[in-house]
């Protein structure tokens, strides 16, 4: 009889019915169906079959059978998983160490980078009203370019304080930071500080230790930082004590504030004193600057009231300057617009020569990306090793399933293993970070502390452990647990050909990153070396320099020089405008024979004394130095080669410039022009950035722009610095007793110009070596794993006559190919990004092909070393041993 129940109904039943009831119900249905076919006919039987199936759709039929196994507590199983995981870790100590260590190093690097970025982003956060404070700046058009100036004219402050009073909650005028000699009793100290309006402590929400924020209301008051207070007064209460400023003005301490942390704009300001005192100390302000809309020398800070935005306020004060300079057509033409520059942008988007310098924010991105990459490398390792290992565990999965594990348990087991490893790595990473934080702070010149109490820190770490655990555990947990035990245990199970593809891709990614970092490091170092080898044009050895901080320094040139030379340790002494490592002043208004009228660029304009050349050791290309023998030399001029070239006077050679006349007209028509005769041309001196072209610079004895302000002393080469300094100090103590003896070595100052680049170099080198280390760890693990997996194959090959060399070649080839692919990706990437970086420097090294070749070859060599260790070990193994065991 061919009667069969309706298949669709059967399928429906099988779909909804709980498996343990299916057999019985299908039996019932079948039996009834056959009876009915005989008694009522096929059609009726089918119809009733359908009705029966539908009537069976009831909860108690659908509900699946509860597990027959005992239902252990979740924690019991967890304990078991962790125990198994632990046993696995200790059984394969090598792998575990590579795995945990690699991941921990990656995490530690990411943590350090994260902390650095956090520190950068939280710059100035110390001030409570951080998001309402701004600097008043001026946007104007200068030589066709829109730029922003941060130094303001005095009357603008007055204008804002009177006509726009309601717009601001606080408006604070401030001087530049300046060094002053603070004296309390016998204690003398050179301290950096600022003159500010009395509202400043309130605006900056200074945390007062003694006194209160109203302390600056008294015109002769001073607020000092805790550090200054300690240095001047020890532990005594400094309130109402008297300090002498620069040996002239007596001020009273009305408060002590907590030191501003390093990541604030004003952290160098160690004392604050009043605006009134600023005017009193600089009497020229009241005479000449108070209504002068052209003399820029103050800074203005503002706090806006809650509820208003910077844009609104900027809009209101936009024309505060323009409205007042109708009488100055030249200034009006620049269309100055006053606007607010929010505190949150000061650090990451600073203005440099009127334009925003993107360096700091790019650095944040760079550090973030590098941290991310190192972490990625570590994660890749972790995943690669876990998945590679897990294939070995296919049999374990088979056995477990046979004795009754359900899939959910296997998934939990593999996941708890990977989470355990990730957790251990986190612990190690926390340890590494804590230990290396000091070193890192030194490297990046910051004061970062471990944010143990920061919720975000823990949340991020936990999230990271979770994600890593999930990623690394997902392959074994989800894929391996799906194996059919029969296949695995019978040995017919083969991991597919493509199972290794993701792993290969990951190795390529790792090495691409590593090789890119190696190339970048080499290039950064080359650039630093290149700039360091640039001819400096003067001799830095034994040259010390000091600012003339108070009036007591002036008018003592001859006696100072005589006394210093009498000590026998000083070869020569001079005074100059600014230190030799900086071009302090720049001016235009020069005229010379055959001048192209369109050329009116600013020259470096520096006043020096006659002996300056001998002191710093500048080198003449043509002409001669200043000499006291000729009285006319006081109107002489020494120019550098860049200036000679710029003026077009070095034609055909520099000699041609000597003897030419140069006239300097001051921009305010209140001084008669000075006519100079060029005495000599010196080799370019690197006074500013060693990466930039030399500014055309002129040196003279007397000029329009002020006088000498620094002392330079050349110590005799045969004398040791400590001996010399001792004797020099004695002279200063005798002649200028009011000032502390503070000096700088020029070679150190010069070296400081490389600090930023050297920092990048050190960081890049550090990250590159870590990346290589992590990648090699991973490779090592993978290589040993492959070798282990192919033990039998190698044994058979050896029996059939394969040589050790050919086996080594066979085992290494795969990895070498991967690394070559990585190099091919990395080289163009590095070339592109590093040539972009070098564009920042005018004086820069070239990208030579050998750098790339070297990095590639290095990566290859390291790979071969790493892999060969395992390959040769495997190839040397006695085949009897590897084939005997089964």
């Amino acid at each position: 009889m061919s009667a069969a129940p309706p298949p669709l109904a059967q399928r429906l039943l099988r779909w909804f019915c709980a498996p343990h009831r299916l057999d019985e119900l299908e039996g019932d249905l079948d039996e009834l169906f056959h009876q009915r076919v005989e008694m009522e006919g096929l059609r009726q039987a089918r119809w009733r079959y359908w009705r029966d199936v539908l009537s069976l759709m009831r909860p108690f039929i659908i509900r699946r059978q509860p597990a027959e196994y005992p239902d252990p507590l979740f924690t019991d199983m967890l304990r078991n998983y962790i125990k198994i995981a632990w046993r696995n870790l200790t059984k394969n100590k090598g792998y575990s160490a590579i795995n945990i260590g690699g991941l921990a190093v990656g995490m530690a690097v990411a943590m350090l980078n994260g902390l650095w970025i956090w520190d950068e982003l939280s710059f100035n956060n110390y001030h409570q009203n951080y998001d309402r404070i701004a600097q008043v700046v001026k946007q104007q058009i200068h030589e066709g370019e829109t730029g922003v100036g941060q130094t303001m004219v005095y009357p603008l402050g007055t204008e804002l304080k009177t006509k726009y009073r309601d717009t601001f909650r606080h408006l604070v005028r401030a001087s530049f930071q300046q060094d002053k000699i603070l004296a309390a009793g016998d204690n003398k100290l050179s301290v950096t500080g600022q003159f500010m309006d009395p509202e400043a402590p309130e605006m900056l929400s200074l945390k007062m230790i003694y006194g209160n924020r109203a302390g600056l209301n008294d015109p002769n008051a001073i607020l000092i930082s805790a550090q200054t207070a300690r240095a001047l007064f020890g532990d005594a209460d400094p309130l109402n004590k008297v300090i002498t400023l620069n040996n002239q003005t007596q001020v009273k301490v009305t408060g002590v504030y907590e030191d501003l942390p390093l990541n604030t704009e004003f952290h160098k300001t160690r004392f604050l004193t009043t605006w009134a005192l600023f005017l009193q100390e600089n009497d020229w302000i009241e005479k000449r600057a108070i209504d002068n809309w052209r003399n820029h020398f103050i800074k203005i800070y503002a706090e806006i009231p809650a509820g208003s935005t910077f844009d609104q306020v900027s809009e209101r004060i936009k024309n505060a300057e323009l409205n007042n300079i109708a009488h100055l057509p030249e200034e009006s033409a620049r269309k100055p617009q006053i606007l607010l520059y929010p505190m949150s942008r000061w650090h990451l988007f600073p203005y440099e020569r009127g334009q925003i310098n993107k360096g700091p924010v790019q650095m944040v991105w760079l550090v973030g990306i590098i941290g991310g990459f190192v972490l990625l490398l570590a994660c890749i390792n972790f995943m690669n090793l876990s998945t590679a290992r897990s294939e070995k565990r296919a049999k374990e999965v088979g056995i477990r399933k046979t004795v009754g594990s359900v899939r959910g348990q296997l998934i939990s087991q593999f996941f708890s293993e990977s989470f355990l490893v990730a957790m251990l790595a986190l612990v190690v990473a926390l340890f590494l970070t804590t230990v290396s934080l000091n070193w890192f702070n030194n490297l990046v010149a910051k004061q970062i502390v471990m944010p143990w109490n920061n919720g975000w820190f823990w949340a991020t770490s936990t999230a990271f452990v979770f994600i890593t655990g999930l990623l690394a555990g997902s392959y074994p947990a989800l894929y391996l647990s799906s194996f059919q035990p029969v296949k695995v245990l019978k040995g017919t199970f083969r991991v597919g050909r493509f199972a290794a593809v993701p792993r290969r891709v990951l190795v390529v990614v790792q090495f691409t990153v590593s090789v890119t970092l190696i190339i970048s490091t080499i290039i950064v170092y080359r650039q630093i070396q290149y700039a360091k080898q640039r001819p400096v044009g003067y001799s830095r050895e034994g040259l010390i320099t000091m600012p003339m901080k108070s009036d007591d320094f002036y008018g003592k040139y001859d006696v100072l020089r005589r006394e210093l030379k009498n000590t026998g340790v000083v070869a020569e002494m001079s005074q100059s405008m600014g230190p030799v490592t900086d071009v302090y002043s720049g001016n235009n208004g020069f005229e010379w024979k055959g001048k192209d009228p369109r050329k009116d660029e600013s020259f470096g304009t520096l006043a020096v004394t006659h002996e300056h050349g001998k002191t710093v050791g500048w080198q003449f290309v043509a002409g001669r130095d200043f000499s006291r023998k000729y009285a006319s030399d006081s109107l002489g001029m020494v120019i550098n080669e860049a200036a000679a070239r710029y003026m077009g006077l070095a034609n055909p050679a520099a000699d041609a410039a000597v003897g030419e006349l140069v006239t300097w007209r001051w921009w305010e028509n209140n001084k008669p022009p000075i006519q100079y005769r060029i005495l000599g041309v010196i080799k370019d001196m690197v006074m500013e950035s060693p990466y930039e072209p030399i500014i055309p610079t002129v040196f003279y004895i007397k000029g329009h722009n002020g006088s000498v302000s620094w002392i330079n002393i050349k110590i005799r080469p045969e004398v040791t610095a400590s001996d010399a300094l001792f004797k020099i100090e004695a002279v200063f103590k005798k002649l200028i007793p009011s000032a502390p003896f503070e000096y700088k070595f020029v070679d150190q100052e010069y070296a400081a110009k490389f600090a930023a680049e050297e920092r990048i170099g050190t960081l890049a080198g550090f990250f590159a070596s870590l990346a290589v280390l992590i990648s090699c760890l991973g490779l090592f693990g993978l290589a040993s794993f492959t070798a282990e997996q192919r033990t039998k194959e190698i044994g058979i090959r050896k029996i059939l006559g394969a040589s050790v060399a050919s086996l080594w070649q066979m085992l290494s080839k795969d990895f070498v190919v991967l690394v070559i692919v990585a190099c091919l990706i990395a080289i163009p990437t590095a070339f592109y990004s590093m040539s972009g970086w070098l564009q920042n420097y005018t004086y820069r090294t070239e990208l030579s092909w050998w750098i790339f070749a070297l990095a590639g070859a290095g990566a290859l060599l390291i790979t071969l070393l790493t892999v060969s260790f395992q390959a040769i070990k495997a190839a040397l193994m006695n085949p009897v041993k590897s084939l005997r065991s089964e």
Binding site: D23, E24, L25, E26, G27, D28, L29, D30, E31, L32, Q35, R48, R51, D52, V53, L54, S55, L56, M57, R58, F60, I61
Partner: protein, 108 residues
Amino acid sequence: MKGTYLGEFEEVVLLAVAIRAGDAYGAAVVNEIEQQMNRSVNLGAVHSALNRLQEKGLVRSEMGGISAERGGRRKRLYTVTNAGRRALEEVRELRSQMWEAIPKTAWS
């Protein structure tokens, strides 16, 4: 006595299980009811009733052996428990008690 209350259909199913003592499984119960009462019932209704009776403790079930007639499929065999028997007796007593109570005049 909440919980052991016997619905009408449940009573019929329970009786059918008792009648088929030793060989009472889903299809057999359906057949029994259809033959006795001459009405068609759904398998689902029967299983549902059996399930409820089991929850009330009036029947118990166990899987029977494999037999060829159902293509090797096993049967779930139900038997009436002591509680089930008592429940049936109670219903019957209640009914006869009520029959007794009908006055003779009622039928006239």
